[in-house]
């Protein structure tokens, strides 16, 4: 199983017009900026391409493409290169913005489109699960966030109060 093969497959899908654009999120996305943390799956955020004449945008062409190339469905995941991959639409304005402003990183000659560190941190703040809070603290501790860019994302997405609460709860002693 190789995550680089997953990225190469997604790039191929984009090159062949199956998807418009994509960005890697979740723990795999965070690994582009932080130390690697064990994860079981890969979260790929995609703008699904509308089928001609269809009112509802469907992920079906994407699954058909992968299944034709040997990928198998496993619950809500599709197995690509040995990894369970979850394709997710941008369900909030923040994730939509993150998808539009994703950055391209080179992985030994393979381009990988990944959420910016600031967007990953803001998404973690918005999602608010325990592991997201831990991830946000990792981003802060690692010093990889551009403070101004992060603040602008918080402002645009009505996350300023949430950030203040997070600061009080976890960063109080640093104030």
């Amino acid at each position: 199983m190789k995550i680089q093969d997953v990225i190469a497959t997604i790039n191929q899908m984009q090159a062949e017009g199956v998807i418009d654009c994509y960005a890697i999120g979740g723990a795999v996305g965070a690994t582009f900026y932080l130390e690697p943390v064990a994860t079981l799956d890969v979260d790929i955020f995609v703008a699904f391409r509308a089928e001609p004449g269809a009112i509802i945008v469907s992920p079906k062409p994407l699954f058909d493409y992968l299944k034709a190339r040997g990928a198998t469905m496993m619950g809500e995941y599709i197995m690509v290169a040995g990894w369970p991959v979850q394709f997710l639409p941008p369900g909030t304005p923040l994730v939509e913005e993150a998808l539009g402003q994703a950055v391209v990183r080179d992985v030994e000659g393979i381009p990988a489109r990944v959420f910016s560190a600031e967007h990953l941190a803001a998404i973690a703040l918005q999602t608010r699960r325990a592991k997201d809070k831990a991830r946000l603290l990792q981003f802060i501790e690692a010093g990889v966030l551009d403070a101004q860019r992060f603040q602008e994302i918080l402002d645009r997405n009505s996350l300023v109060d949430t950030w203040r609460r997070f600061e009080r709860q976890f960063l109080g002693e640093q104030q």
Binding site: M1, T39, L40, M74, T92, A112, K131
Partner: protein, 64 residues
């Protein structure tokens, strides 16, 4: 035992890992997942009730 010193050394180790080339870090994820699967005995995140798992972002289609 100096807890502060221990925490600092852990932080330094994390920074060393974070600074590795991305391809190397992704290979580490491959290995970490293999290990996780071996321990759990399953290749996909569990959907059993009561088990905490990463939830998908809710999908709200744009209204025109």
């Amino acid at each position: 035992m100096n807890l502060q010193k221990i925490l600092e050394s852990k932080r330094a180790l994390r920074q060393v890992h974070a600074a590795r080339p991305i391809a190397e870090k992704l290979r580490m994820l491959d290995v970490l997942r293999e290990r996780e699967v071996a321990i759990r005995g399953t290749g996909t995140p569990s959907t059993a009730p009561g088990i905490l798992r990463e939830a998908a972002v809710p999908w709200h289609p744009k209204s025109k």
